[in-house]
């Protein structure tokens, strides 16, 4: 009996570990979208965050410093996006696509020399006594520090958006930029901050993969997680706490392929690897069916450029 419980605890731990990059990236994008900006460049920001964190971790042997650098790199990528869409009023969809394509190219370019490098990544938590407890230890006290960080981030984003004045202003800017502007709020500056926060979170999600989850660097290692994170924001109907549910659902789906292989199921690995992508499509479809609910929950100014003259 304890063996089975222990097995379940292991599965839960693996699910949390697999879902965490999505938690970071989706929470960041959620805040950006709440301010009315749709940034499709999450995949690119995650990749650049991953490669920069890996390079810094490999050269300084400080994985946490790497994670910090990864977040900064993600924010820098987001600043490029902000300069184009917020200062120069470029189309957000096209610019986001450009950011993703650019991020894929940039990360492959600067990461080429680090492809087979090994680093000592961030180790999972190990609290003497607690982490070794049967079942409970695995469930509560033995995850990667990033997992706890992502949960904390989720709580903070929720509190910020719904319990602080600054969060209210961000939401107001996302609902009606021109009204917020008329009230004297610096719409563009607020959107810059929200977008760069989103970039930092995406970078951190990528960094978690590069310096803790795997820990190594390979080209395109995020494998579409940035796009899945975008779908998650819709799935969560722009509510931070629902992001967690979605992310762990996908973490679980990713796990199915390893489990099935371990159990010796005769399904080709490629077919199993399709599951997270197919699940994204199915989930997105189910949630989008209710067009009224999407309209109700989506920030009303989402994707619309803002210029005081117009």
């Amino acid at each position: 009996m304890e063996g089975a419980a222990d097995h379940v605890a292991t599965l839960v731990a693996l699910t949390l570990a697999a879902g965490t990059p999505l938690v970071f990236a989706a929470l960041g994008e959620l805040v950006a979208e709440k301010s009315g900006v749709l940034n499709l460049g999450v995949e690119g920001m995650m990749l650049v965050g991953a490669v920069v964190s890996f390079i810094v971790a490999a050269t300084t042997r400080q994985p946490w410093l790497g994670a910090l650098a990864g977040a900064a790199a993600g924010a820098a990528m987001a600043a490029i996006f902000g300069a184009l869409t917020l200062s120069l009023m470029a189309n957000q969809v096209a610019t986001g696509l450009a950011l993703s394509l650019f991020g894929v190219g940039l990360s492959a370019f600067i990461g080429q020399a680090y492809v087979s490098v090994m680093i000592a990544g961030v180790k999972p938590l190990s609290i003497p006594g607690l982490s070794n407890l049967p079942v409970i230890g695995k469930l509560l006290f033995a995850h990667s520090p990033f997992v706890y960080l992502s949960l904390l981030l989720c709580a903070l984003v929720h509190v910020f958006l719904y319990r602080t004045r600054a969060g209210l202003v961000v939401r107001a800017v996302g609902e009606s930029a021109s009204s917020a502007h008329a009230l004297g709020y610096p719409v563009v500056a607020i959107r810059y901050l929200a977008v760069m926060f989103g970039g930092a979170c995406a970078g951190l999600g990528g960094a978690y993969m590069a310096v803790a989850y795997t820990p190594l660097w390979t080209e395109n290692m995020t494998a579409g997680r940035g796009w899945i994170a975008l779908a998650l924001v819709v799935f969560a109907t722009w509510k931070p706490e629902r992001v967690l549910a979605g992310a762990y659902l996908f973490g679980g789906v990713t796990l199915v392929q390893f489990q099935a292989q371990a159990m010796g199921l005769a399904v080709p690995s490629q077919i199993l690897s399709m599951l997270p992508y197919l699940a994204t499509i199915v989930v997105l479809t189910i949630i989008s069916r209710d067009a009224a609910a999407i309209r109700l929950n989506a920030p009303a100014s989402l994707g619309k450029p803002f210029h005081p003259d117009t």
């Binding site: 470029a90 610019t95 991020g103 370019f109």
Partner: protein, 368 residues
């Protein structure tokens, strides 16, 4: 003196075509800086990147060869983008086109007539359209965002191809490599220029450019799709069906990408491999934008983008630079284009020193 963006009364038609030139030049400057920073002689590096690949007849053939899938995918995508239908899954539709045509070629290994190419092209178009129909259906029936669904299907298509060439379609005599048998010689597109790899796929791409020009500029449906893209409310009022536009936009993009997949499978590759394209489907998004969603612009932009691919290979061989530099240049080009595009709708106004001084002294006066 301060600079300020002022809204133009009407979008500038001149800037719409000057902006890609500005972006191209800015990309060159960025390349100059990048190569210098990497410790290469920038002029020599730019020569290696942009001139050396097309100095020979073979190189010119390669330029047109690689431009073919790019322009084909890009005109297809442009049909959708003009109507605000954001299909970004051309890479997956290309893969499905290659799978469908390749399956046909592999099913008839003893084919002895080049007529097999015709059904292969139709199969490729059908494969691409089927793949594009999924996001179209999910969007029109369930309101699911086509950007995300079409992109997800790229991963699914790549995995499907990977499974086929490692499983049921693997060449039994291929030393366990993940690849299919080679196609029969008649199932390969004929070479246009002897001594190069340029094949008839280029003619198909050119024909698509011509057809797209007719469709965009001279057909009612093309006009209606453009209206729906520029002014959705007006299109709705005029009774133009939004659903029909989504279906058309996606299916045209899927068919074009599928045919370009045939061009790769039955062209330079000649068999099915785990990857049929070095990201042509994604690069085509950039081609479509740089080409202003206009067939002629797309033709020119596809040549430029093809040159970036060749330049990346050349830089890898001659300068020991990672070939990923291609992706870097592609992304940079699109960034500069999007930045320069601001000049279409806005002009740069200069708030003169006098005005600024006056403003400052008023502010000061208010303080005093």
């Amino acid at each position: 003196m301060r600079l300020r963006l002022e809204l133009r009364p009407a979008p500038s038609r001149i800037m719409a075509w000057v902006s890609p030139l500005l972006a191209g030049m800015a990309t060159l400057v960025a390349g100059f800086i990048l190569f210098s920073a990497l410790g290469k002689d920038p002029l020599q590096a730019l020569h290696v990147f942009f001139v050396k690949p097309i100095e020979t007849r073979y190189g010119l053939g390669e330029l047109l060869l690689k431009a073919s899938p790019l322009m084909l995918c890009a005109v297809g995508l442009a049909a959708g983008y003009r109507a605000n239908v954001w299909n970004i899954g051309a890479e997956g539709q290309l893969t499905l086109g290659a799978i469908a045509a390749g399956g046909l070629a592999l099913a008839f290994p003893g084919a002895d007539s080049a007529w097999i190419l015709l059904p292969m092209i139709f199969a490729g178009a059908a494969g691409g359209m089927a793949w594009a129909a999924i996001p179209a259906w999910l969007r029109t029936r369930f309101n699911a965002n086509e950007i995300l669904t079409s992109l997800m299907l790229v991963y699914v298509a790549t995995l499907l191809l990977s499974w086929l060439v490692q499983g049921p379609w693997r060449d039994p005599d291929g030393f366990n490599f993940p690849q299919s048998k080679m196609f029969a010689d008649v199932a390969l597109l004929p070479i246009l220029l002897p001594g190069t790899r340029l094949n008839a796929g280029f003619l198909i791409a050119l024909a698509a450019i011509a057809v797209a020009w007719l469709f965009f500029a001279r057909s009612l449906v093309g006009f209606q799709m453009r209206v729906a893209g520029l002014a959705p409310a007006a299109a709705n009022y005029a009774g133009i069906s939004a659903k029909r536009n989504i279906w058309l936009g996606m299916l045209i993009g899927g068919a074009a990408a599928g045919i370009s997949g045939v061009g790769e499978a039955a062209g330079p590759i000649g068999q099915l491999l785990p990857s049929m394209s070095p990201g042509y489907g994604f690069a085509a998004i950039i081609v479509a934008f740089v080409g202003r969603l206009h067939p002629l612009g797309i033709l020119l932009a596809s040549l430029l983008m093809s040159l970036l691919y060749l330049g990346g290979e050349s830089a890898q061989i001659n300068l020991a630079l990672p070939s990923a530099v291609t992706g870097l240049f592609q992304g940079t080009l699109l960034f500069f284009l999007l930045a320069a595009d601001v000049l279409i709708n806005f002009r740069i106004g200069v708030i003169g020193r006098k005005a600024a001084n006056a403003a400052a002294s008023t502010a000061l006066g208010a303080h005093v």
